[in-house]
């Protein structure tokens, strides 16, 4: 199974062929495609202002498992991205990965990063 770092690099490679607008469209599509559970509980709701995000984070052996969703498409895209990168990662891997920096490097727009809730999501995932 690939490491977190490898998965992040694969996605970065995919993104590298896209311009800013296409990246944005890519996130929308990613959001549209996200399949997830529909039995989220209240305590799985991550505090955010403009949209609702549910994240279920648990451990299997030493690995992090994540599923999640949102009522907003773009946020769903971000959740999907988080899952692609962090799901099945080891706890250590996950803790040492700087998602914000990764977004910067891959030029995912600042306002996307600053959407309320992202910090909260990362806190749920990385502790």
């Amino acid at each position: 199974m690939s490491t977190l770092q490898q998965r992040a690099e694969e996605i970065a490679e995919e993104l590298s062929y896209l311009d800013r607008e296409e990246r944005f469209e890519w996130i929308i599509d990613t959001g549209k495609e996200l399949k997830t559970a529909d039995d989220f509980q209240d305590h799985e709701l991550v505090k955010g202002c403009q949209s609702k995000v549910w994240l279920r984070v648990w451990q299997e052996e030493n690995n992090l498992r994540i599923i999640g969703t949102s009522d907003a498409l773009l946020v769903k895209g971000i959740v999907s991205l988080l899952i692609s990168i962090f799901d099945n990662a080891t706890i250590d891997e996950s803790k040492s990965f700087d998602f914000i920096e990764w977004m910067n490097k891959n030029q995912i727009s600042l306002s996307m990063q600053r959407m309320q809730g992202l910090e909260g999501m990362l806190r749920r995932i990385q502790g």
Binding site: I28, C49, S51, K52, L73, L74, S109, S111, M112, M115
Partner: protein, 395 residues
């Protein structure tokens, strides 16, 4: 007009429809701020040297300018940090003294948090009860209900002049007349009125009026409280420190006259000076023609929105408002905002610091488009175009 605003010359593709949040600044305002820092960055009220004298002079000239523009006296203009702080000052220094436990303070269901949470804090401290005029089914102010509550006996009434969510302009003239008739003192939250309308404090007959510099094309960090001098003079200071005292002994102090009594510590000198320039700019540009132009631009915004099926407005934006808040069926407001942003159209998304109102409308998050001095037909066209695309893509 955009050529006066560096924000637009530096971001030529920007379609800024978030004036109600904070307004761009004309070059004259930025220059006034820079001029202070580059030429005479002294402290005020302690004029021992030319640098300080020039700062003091510019600071007090700004006060004078603002007083003139607003039909108030120089010593009725108090500089605070923002609208929020100004309202809190009135709550804590004026209203607190009036209140006996159980006394009522009258608000409306359409207030910005600034004009709500401040009163909640006061109520918790004093045992005052907050009463709210209801919002009717269209999301509009219910004047009859407000009058009924007013007549039923309240100690103070605070209300917005223009709602930051629905854009509705309240019938403040009639409301103030009614309150005066009953001897109820009043505060007007003019944060959303001031950028679009000239007012005369003296004629208006309110006791207190507040607004923010950053929403009237001025700098951040300064808000204005205008208060009738006679009332300001009865108020104890809320914040203690330098410049607001007359004599100080270890055990007690006597205070300066208003407005200095309420301007403790070093004030936001550069922002006050910049605000003076912003008021000059407003004075020059808030003409009849501009008013008609803004009405026309707003109609453009509404037309664009009405093109979209499933648009629902909060309140009634057809009443010559300067902003419209809305939701679009099947499109999340956050997505819509983000998509518009991607197309360089800046709008506001969220609860607009008016949670209770949004809750009542059963809406989690809305989008708000607000216009201002520089809004032009290009902005409207680009907004309409981006909106259509967004809805197609996001639904």
């Amino acid at each position: 007009m955009k050529q006066d605003f560096p924000l637009f010359t530096h971001n030529p593709d920007l379609v800024y429809l978030d004036y109600a949040n904070t307004a761009p600044k004309p070059q004259s305002v930025i220059s006034a701020v820079c001029e202070y820092y580059t030429h005479y960055s002294g402290n005020v009220h302690r004029a021992n040297h030319d640098i300080g004298s020039r700062a003091d002079h510019a600071y007090e000239m700004a006060r004078m300018r603002i007083a003139e523009y607003l039909g108030a006296e120089r010593n009725e203009i108090v500089f605070q940090k923002n609208t929020t702080e100004a309202i809190n000052l009135v709550a804590q220094s004026f209203v607190a003294k009036l209140i006996e436990p159980g006394d009522k303070i009258l608000l409306t269901g359409l207030e910005h948090h600034a004009n709500l949470v401040s009163w909640q804090l006061l109520a918790a401290r004093t045992g005052a009860e907050l009463v709210f005029s209801q919002v009717d089914e269209d999301g509009c102010f219910d004047e009859q209900h407000w009058l009924k509550l007013l007549i039923s006996g309240v100690r103070f009434a605070a209300f917005t002049a223009v709602s930051n969510v629905t854009g509705e302009r309240f019938p403040i003239e009639q409301m103030l007349a009614a309150a005066r008739g009953l001897g109820v003192p009043t505060l007007i939250d003019a944060a959303q009125l001031m950028p679009h309308e000239r007012i005369d404090f003296d004629k208006l007959g309110a006791d207190f009026l507040v607004f923010s510099g950053h929403k009237v094309y001025g700098p951040t960090g300064v808000g204005i409280l205008i208060g009738r001098y006679e009332l300001l003079n009865q108020m104890d200071p809320w914040i203690g420190g330098g410049d607001m005292i007359d004599t100080v002994h270890l055990s007690s102090s006597t205070f300066q006259e208003p407005p200095l009594r309420f301007e403790a510590g070093t004030p936001p000198i550069a922002s006050v000076i910049g605000l003076g320039a912003a008021i000059d700019y407003l004075d020059g540009h808030l003409t009849e023609t501009q008013h008609a132009h803004e009405s026309c631009m707003m109609q453009g915004v509404l037309n664009a929105l009405n093109q979209i099926e499933g648009t629902r407005f909060l309140g009634d934006p057809t009443s010559d408002a300067r902003l419209a808040s809305f939701v679009i069926e099947g499109v999340h407001s956050a997505d819509l905002g983000a998509y518009l942003n991607e197309k360089n159209v800046a709008v506001r998304v969220g609860k607009m610091c008016a949670h209770p109102l949004l809750e009542q409308c059963g809406i989690d998050s809305a989008v708000r488009a607000s216009i201002g001095l520089c809004t032009d037909q290009t902005d409207i066209d680009k907004f309409a175009d981006a909106l259509t695309k967004a809805v197609k893509r996001l639904r």
